[in-house]
Symmetry: C2
Subunit: 328 residues, 2 copies
C-alpha cells in the first residue's frame, strides 16, 4: 500500500482500543470524533489494510480484535519533544525504499525534519547500491529529510552524527557496547546491527537537501536473517536477549540525532570528536581500505573534521574519504 | 510549451523547407513521409507553436513563410560524431530550467549523454541559487545527463572539464582569449560569457547521476542584457563582432567535452593540468575567496587533482574547495 496512515485512522483506532470489549457503532464513532460517517467507514477500511483485525456486526458496529505491531505516527509525535525531526511523520505499511520516497518528497518541497517510516521495505537500499534486508515488524526503516546549509563535502560529517546518535541511543537503552564503524555502520559485538545511508541532491558548493536513511535490526531472531547475512548481522534483541520497543528506540534516536545535527550545523564535527573516538569501532585497529582500485593499509588513527578516516601508513598519514574497510 | 520537438515535426519541416515557393498538401506530405494525415496535421500544429510561420490555403496545403532561429535536435544529431553526448536530444522552446528537467529525467532513468536544450529558460539557474538570465534566441542553455562512476568529491573536476571544454571551443571558433574562472565561470576579456552549473544526486561515496548545466551568452547585443548584468556580462558576438552559429558552438562543445569527460573518468584531472593552467583566469593573480564566514587572501597558485583552488597565503598553502573569488 502506497499511502501513509491518515489521522482519522489513528483517531478511530484510539476509540476502538479504549472499548475492546464492546462494539462501537459508526454513529457513536462519528459523533465522538465529529466526523462524517463516511470518514469512519474509510478509516475502518484503512485500518484493516494495515492488518488490524476488526470485527463488524450489523446493527452493533465495530470491535478491535487484534493489533499488528506497528509504529504509529501519532504515537511517535506524542512521545517526541524535538524541534524539527519527526514533526511530520509519514508512515507506510510497505515501501520500496524510504530513501527513494524521501528523495521525491524533498524534491517536491517537503519540509526539513519530515520522517518517512516503513514497516517493511521491499527494495531497501544499503550503500553502494547494495540491498538492505528490511522485513516487516522487526526493524526500524526510516528516512529523514534534512536541509542543512552546508557544502556537500561536509556531508560525511552528517552521516557520522547519525551513526553516533544511533550507537549512543542503543547503548543508553540497553547498556550494550554499540559502536560506529566508519563510514556508515553500527555494530554490536562486531556484528552489523544498523546502517546509515545518506543521499544528497547538491550543487558543488551547496546542498539542496539530504536524505538520511537509517536502518536498524531491532527485534529479529537469528532465524529471521537470510543465511548469507547471519554471519555478519545481528539485532538488538539477539544481543540484548529482550524485545525492544521500536517506538522508544525511534523517539530516543530522533532526540539525540536532532541535538547532534543542530550542533553540527553550527560548529561542524569538532565538538563531537571525543565522543566519536569513544564510539568508534575502527580507531586503534589495523585496517585495509579498498576504494575502487586503490588499497591502503595501516593503523586507523582518527576521524577528521570532514568525517574522513585518517590512517597511519609506512609512507605517512593518509586521509581516506570513502571506501570499504576491513579489520586486519 | 512543455513538450520537446518531435521527429515528425522536423521531417515535415524539412519537406516544407525544400519547397518554399509552392504549397504542399497534407496528402503529398503524408505519402512522402509514409505517415497518417493526422500526424501531418499534428506536426504543422507543433511547428506553429514553435513560431514557424506556415500559411495554409484550402485545397492547396501548406507553405513555410518564416523560420525562427532555433537549434533543432535533428540538425544537432546530424552534425555530431560523439559516442555518448547528444545521442538523444530533447529540445524545448521554453523551459523553467534545463537542469531541473534534466534532474527529473535522470531520476526517471534517462540514459547518459541525453541533452536537454531550451531556446529560453524562464527560471534559468546559476550557482548558489542565483538566477541565470536566459532570453530566447540568443544563448545556449543546455543540460547533459551524465552517469560517471565517481565519488561525489571528485565531481568538481568534472565542472572544470566542462569549463575547459567551453573555453577551448570558444577560442577555437573565434580566436578570442576565453578563460575559465574557478570554479565555474567562462570569461572573455574579464567579462562573464558562460557558466557551468553541476548538480548531483549522490551517496557519500557514489554518484547516482550528474546534471551538467551549461549556459553561454552567444548572440546577445549590449542592449540585450539587463542593466545590473551589463557591467559584468558579455556575449561571444559582442566580443567577436560577428554572429555565431549556436548549432556549431553546441556541437563543437559536445565533441570537446565528451573527449575530456572520457579521459577524466579514466585518469582524473591530472592529464589536463597544463591545459587548465593555460586557460585559467585566476592562476598567478592575487585573490580573495569568501566561503560562508571564512575569507582567505593570497596568490592563486594551482588547481589540484580534485579541482580545488590552491592559494599561497602568508600562513602557508590553503586548499579551497568552494567559494566566491574576487581578483584583488
Amino acid at each position: 500500500m502506497k499511502r501513509s496512515m491518515q489521522a482519522a485512522g489513528e483517531e478511530v483506532l484510539s476509540l476502538l482500543q479504549k472499548k475492546r470489549r464492546t462494539f462501537l457503532s459508526t454513529k457513536e464513532i462519528s459523533e465522538k470524533l465529529r466526523v462524517h460517517p463516511y470518514v469512519v467507514y474509510q478509516a475502518i477500511k484503512e485500518l484493516r489494510r494495515w492488518d488490524f483485525e476488526i470485527s463488524s456486526e450489523k446493527g452493533k458496529g465495530y470491535r478491535l480484535l487484534k493489533s499488528p505491531d506497528l509504529i504509529l505516527p501519532g504515537e511517535v509525535k506524542r512521545k517526541l519533544s524535538t524541534k524539527i525531526m519527526g514533526k511530520e511523520v509519514l508512515s507506510y505499511r510497505s515501501l520500496g525504499s524510504t530513501n527513494q520516497l524521501g528523495f521525491r518528497l524533498a524534491e517536491a518541497g517537503a519540509r526539513e525534519g519530515a520522517l518517512i517510516l516503513a514497516d517493511e521495505q521491499t527494495r531497501g537500499r544499503g550503500r553502494m547500491g547494495r540491498d538492505w534486508y528490511s522485513p516487516p515488524g522487526m526493524g526500524l526503516w526510516i528516512s529523514l529529510i534534512l536541509r542543512p546549509n552546508i557544502p556537500p563535502f561536509k556531508a560525511p560529517g552528517l552521516s557520522i552524527c547519525a551513526g553516533l546518535a544511533l550507537a549512543q541511543t542503543i547503548k543508553r537503552l540497553t547498556r550494550l557496547d554499540a559502536r560506529i564503524k566508519w563510514p556508515n555502520d553500527c555494530l554490536i559485538n562486531g556484528l552489523k546491527v544498523g546502517g546509515i545511508l545518506l543521499e544528497l541532491s547538491a550543487e558543488l558548493d551547496r546542498t539542496n537537501f539530504v536524505i538520511a536513511g537509517v536502518g536498524v535490526n531491532v527485534n529479529h531472531l537469528p532465524r529471521d536473517f537470510p543465511k548469507k547475512l547471519s554471519a555478519r548481522a545481528t539485532s538488538i534483541r539477539i544481543e540484548w536477549g529482550k524485545e525492544v520497543s521500536r517506538v522508544r528506540l525511534l523517539t530516543s534516536f530522533l532526540q539525540r540525532f536532532e541535538s547532534l545535527y543542530l550542533d553540527f550545523k553550527k560548529k561542524g564535527l569538532s565538538p563531537q570528536r571525543q565522543l566519536i573516538k569513544k564510539f568508534s569501532f575502527l580507531l586503534g585497529k589495523k585496517v585495509a581500505v579498498k576504494f575502487g582500485r586503490e588499497k591502503i593499509e595501516g593503523l586507523a588513527r582518527d576521524i577528521d573534521d570532514y568525517g574522513s578516516l585518517v590512517i597511519r601508513t609506512p609512507r605517512g598519514e593518509k586521509v581516506v574519504r570513502a571506501g570499504e574497510v576491513t579489520v586486519l
